[in-house]
């Protein structure tokens, strides 16, 4: 990224990852009017190409058995076949739709439950007293650990899968909301109160919009957590879904489908991240500029 393109973007705290990447690629401490050398984006592209080439070469030279590492070409042709004919009774699109459906259903559930919890933690000491220990208890537990319990309670149907993903998403949503609420400046709240805002109006018109950048960051972290939980959730009694597809393929050592599934998940996660950053820029253009 060049310095001029940097100034065009909102200097958002949400773009922190980019900033860090920039810091790594700029070893000089003082800003330079014109960057010599290559941009981080070009380096990234070259890195990806090198990895692909190494992969293709090792497959071509048969350094590793195809059972362990199928060639890129084999993975690609498998992608085409699965996209057209499907794998284990469902097309690739159906697998993707099943997984996306679960992740988004869980996301909505996590937002509906997590944002009010975050508000309660951020606004009232009683709310914090109630929900903080519960979230701190839930947060570090790996989803695979509570998956069996959820199945015992709610069976092996769709609700259990969504619930497992939603639980993994709940803590990031609630904690980000709470930190956003706590970050609202006292002056802003006092100004609104002196303009005649009631408590409810304060939450609706001042606290929620102030916390929105933070809530969106939580949403982004939650989606990441959701994707990592997806495969675990689809381990049990699923008939569709990317996680299920990878699991079934692994049982029959169909490694090219496994690799293809991993890549599809990666591409979708990357795409979602991109979309959410766009939404953030559109929805909270003021973040970092106040």
């Amino acid at each position: 990224m060049t310095i001029s393109s940097y100034s065009e973007r909102p200097a958002s705290k949400l773009a922190k990852v980019d900033d860090e990447a920039d810091a790594l690629s700029v070893p000089w401490s003082r800003p330079r009017p014109k960057r010599s050398g290559v941009s981080a984006r070009v380096v990234s592209a070259v890195t990806i190409l090198v990895v692909l080439a190494a992969w293709a070469l090792s497959a071509r030279l048969q350094l590793v058995s195809p059972v362990f590492l199928p060639s890129p070409v084999a993975v690609w042709s498998k992608f085409v076949v699965v996209a057209r004919d499907g794998f284990v009774d469902a097309t690739l699109a159906q697998h993707i739709a099943a997984s996306l459906g679960r992740v988004f259903a869980a996301l909505i559930a996590a937002l509906v439950v997590g944002v009010p919890i975050g508000l309660a933690i951020g606004i009232s000491t009683i709310g914090r007293g109630i929900f903080d220990p519960l979230l701190e208890f839930l947060r570090p537990i790996p989803p695979l650990a509570y998956l069996p319990l959820v199945i015992i309670w709610f069976g092996i149907g769709e609700p259990s899968k969504i619930l497992v993903i939603a639980i993994a998403m709940l803590a990031p949503v609630a904690l980000s909301t709470a930190s956003g609420v706590r970050g609202v400046s006292q002056e802003r709240i006092n100004a609104a109160r002196s303009l005649g805002a009631t408590s409810m109006q304060l939450v609706r018109h001042v606290i929620l919009p102030s916390a929105l950048p933070s809530i969106l960051t939580g949403l982004r972290i939650a989606l990441g957590a959701g994707w990592s939980t997806l495969v675990a959730a689809e381990l049990v009694a699923a008939t569709r879904g990317l996680g299920f597809m990878i699991q079934s393929a692994a049982q029959f050592l169909v490694t090219d489908v496994v690799v293809m599934g991993i890549l599809v998940i990666a591409v979708i996660a990357f795409g979602l991240e991109f979309v959410i950053r766009r939404i953030e820029r559109g929805l909270v253009p003021w973040a970092g500029r106040e």
Binding site: S194, L195, G196, Q201, S210, V284, E290
Partner: protein, 257 residues
């Protein structure tokens, strides 16, 4: 006429052994421009917050128009040093905020907000986003937003403190214009000695440890500006320089020179 009255007010913050303010009384009429000055820690802002209803006094009482002040209210709109504007709203929507809280419809809101924006000389800036505005413009929006609540009194907590010297000087006349045009009483906190003289009809000098009133001056410079005299000519008057030195002495009274 409505009065804003602080009667023998003492303020002590939780966990503090000494009070921040002790036994201070202020009576501001609705045509007054009362300015509180004093060194850091003299409790200026604490007193303003008592008037705003944001801080409860330990002893004494506060009242507006005879009614006790127990909570913030739109009859006493506050403007802070950091404008505390809402960045998700445009300048116009910020100004209209108090009207929105009261359920005024969108078109009526916009019409009224545009009138107030014109009053603070920001005509045509209504659609601007807050981060597109300079510090001085933001404070103008903040003032218009406070006036939209149709307050009896404006409570100003160093509203010009964060501005550069030139902008500050221009904003002082803007403040006086607003004060005459909108007929609100003003209670303002400032560090600026000249600013106090330019704006005030009454200057209350506070001293720290604990915050208390040491002097109270009636001044006429702002009324002279309001009556049509140019601000430069007011400031060039030898009486202005004399008042400044008297005020400076009062602020640093008891301190080794």
């Amino acid at each position: 006429m409505t009065h804003l009255v602080l009667d023998k007010v003492s303020v002590r913050y939780d966990g503090q052994p000494a009070p921040a303010v002790e036994n201070v009384s202020i009576d501001a009429a609705k045509d007054d421009f009362v300015v509180l000055v004093g060194r850091s820690g003299c409790g200026k802002t604490s007193l303003l917050n008592v008037a705003a209803g944001l801080v409860a006094p330990e002893r004494g009482s506060a009242a507006i128009g005879g009614r006790p002040i127990i909570a913030p209210g739109s009859d006493r709109a506050v403007v802070f040093q950091n404008d505390a504007l809402f960045p998700w709203l445009t300048a116009r929507e910020n100004v209209a905020f108090a009207l929105r809280l009261r359920g005024v419809g969108p078109s009526e809101r916009a019409r009224h907000a545009d009138k107030l924006l014109a009053l603070v000389k920001l005509d045509g800036a209504g659609d601007k986003r807050i981060w597109e505005l300079s510090g001085g413009m933001r404070q103008r929006v903040g003032l218009a937003r406070a006036l939209a609540a149709e307050p009896q009194f404006l409570l100003l907590d160093e509203p010009l403190g964060a501005l550069d010297a030139l902008t500050r000087e221009r904003m002082q006349t803007t403040l006086l214009d607003l004060w005459t045009a909108s007929q609100v009483g003003v209670l303002m906190v400032t560090h600026g000695i000249e600013e106090a003289l330019v704006l005030a009809t009454r200057i209350i000098v506070l001293a720290p440890g604990p915050g208390r009133v040491v002097r109270s001056f009636e001044t006429g410079f702002s009324r002279r500006y309001a009556a049509g005299e140019a601000i430069r000519s007011v400031k060039a008057d030898p009486a202005f320089a004399a008042a400044r030195s008297e005020l400076t002495d009062a602020i640093f009274e008891g301190e080794a020179a």
